[in-house]
Symmetry: C2
Subunit: 340 residues, 2 copies
């Protein structure tokens, strides 16, 4: 049976046309998928009018009178935006009218609403954000990317369990290599919390391979890299910054003279391949792991290509029953602990 | 009057020949500089024998019977390696036989020895490591890069003061823009410590511009970016990882066919410019700020080009009297606080 996915059509910087266009695109690819657009009914009906009837029977419309703004505080959004497109999309998951939801809106508000409405899984203190990054060999999946600034060793351990289950289920890696992000082997380095999390992981059934450093993320040294949300977010943003710096610099250099312009033309296929390899749109769609339901965060500035990718991530997690699998793994873990 | 700089000739992965070659190179550039090579006398004498007498009267030799290994714990090195090249080089600074020292050895041991022998400046709890990074506009100076895993708001504030004084003194920026590294503006984000450090900085005489995120490092949004050593080290290493990933990927793509190989040849000048722009050797030489003396850490894998750069950094800090300036700034700060 195909999935039904609720889309927050009002989130994101580029407005509902991006969400509607992405929805139509993915519906055309997946004949058994259903999507629910949540937002201002008149606006959405108008957008939908631009597309043929072909996919429209699988594209439902659900009115929501409010919109969470990027500047809204999570607590305020939670209290005052109960009929926002974001909240209604999450409610649909809670009511089992949808199997998952996708939003490009305010991350903090989305996390607060997801936790409040869906609740966390048993054995999970706090949800975490995971995303996929390119690596020299394969891909790396990193969490937490910004939901939790400070984490206890036990929370880092829980992140590792969730990340490992996700990568196994969705990316078909039998025994994902799990590593903790640290800053070296020396005594002066590494916080006590990371070391303690390392002890917890060493005694677990995960394939824990020890500490890795920042550069190992892009080497593909581990399948799952675990860190607190502050560190993960800084690592991710710094990486984006370097990539931006490099592409900016190359563009500038290739425009320096007629000769470098010609060289740039000759090198175009390679530069294009690089750009597409680094294109964050191809990696768009971060999962909120640890809540009772599937919530996917799209980048705020996502275009239709990127938003469509986030819908695909949601669909895949529905097919692979990610929350149930995490739940099962945690249940056996909790049973084991009780037995000890 | 020219500076005298002590070099730990045994630190680093590539051995004393790199240090001696770098020393000779810098001595040839700076006619009033003196250098002291610290390490195994016979080995160093042999290395020096390979160079002409021209610079040798400004290149002294100081024997040290031990060597700090990369795997040594800082505490062990501090206790058991009192006649190591690293320790003797720092001692020379303490005894005022040298104005600064440079080492490519074990960072943790170097920091431990620098703190123990030289002591911290009044008003400074812990020294921090600062280095220069390339940015789209100008350069960014970031600290701490790994000396302190967890920092109090007061310590982050002290880092900001030290970074600002250094950048003003050495890089001739009258009012360096100081920013705190954070992960966004939302309620869910940002630790209490960073926010509290922000309050301290807002009430200071520094040109504090607020929070920046990881990508801003490479935009040149601030002259001084302040964070704890865990976050700073991860940001730095992640950035190196991305740069490595990109160069690796481009090399691979340019070798895909005869056409891409030709394109690669045409693009060579641009790729070479990029490589030199990203070359960590050009940025080699991180300063330990906050100790009573100038201690420069070279990358462990530094070659002669890179190590020479670290020596130049040391020389510049001697000329600009960096520790004295930090000390002066802190003294007026402490006097102000006492007055309140």
């Amino acid at each position: 049976l195909g999935a039904t996915i609720a889309l927050d059509a009002m989130g994101g910087d580029l407005g509902p046309q991006v969400v509607v266009s992405a929805a139509v695109q993915v519906l055309e690819e997946r004949p058994d998928l259903k999507l629910i657009l949540v937002g201002a009914e008149d606006l959405l009906a108008q957008e939908m009018g631009r597309y043929g009837r072909r996919v429209q029977d699988r594209l439902q419309l659900r009115h929501a009178s409010q919109k969470v703004e990027m500047g809204d505080l999570p607590s305020t959004a939670l209290r005052n935006k109960k009929d926002s497109s974001m909240r209604v999309a999450i409610n649909l998951v809670k009511e089992e009218a949808a199997n998952a939801c996708v939003s490009a809106g305010n991350t903090g508000a989305l996390m607060a609403m997801a936790r409040f409405v869906l609740k966390t899984l048993p054995g999970i203190d706090r949800p975490a954000i995971i995303s996929t990054l390119p690596a020299i060999t394969g891909h790396t999946h990193m969490l937490d990317l910004g939901a939790n600034s400070d984490c206890t060793p036990e929370q880092l351990f829980q992140f590792a369990v969730m990340g490992s289950v996700l990568v196994r289920a969705v990316h078909n890696i039998e025994k994902p290599r799990v590593a903790l992000l640290n800053i070296g082997e020396e005594e002066i380095k590494g916080t006590g919390r990371v070391k303690e999390a390392g002890r917890l992981l060493s005694n677990s059934d995960l394939h824990y391979i020890g500490f890795v450093e920042g550069d190992d993320i892009y080497r593909g040294a581990a399948d799952v890299v675990v860190c607190d949300g502050f560190v993960g977010n800084v690592a991710l943003k710094s990486s984006e910054g370097v990539a931006l710096f490099i592409t900016h610099y190359m563009r500038q250099e290739f425009q320096r003279s007629i000769w470098t312009r010609l060289a740039g033309l000759a090198a175009m296929p390679v530069l294009r391949a690089l750009r597409s390899k680094l294109d964050p749109r191809g990696y768009n769609g971060a999962s909120f792991l640890g809540v009772r339901g599937i919530v996917i965060k799209s980048h705020g500035s996502a275009d239709a290509v990127a938003f469509a990718n986030a819908i695909r991530v949601a669909d895949l997690e529905v097919q692979k029953r990610v929350p149930e699998r995490i739940s099962d793994h945690l249940a056996s873990l909790l049973a084991e602990r009780r037995a000890v």
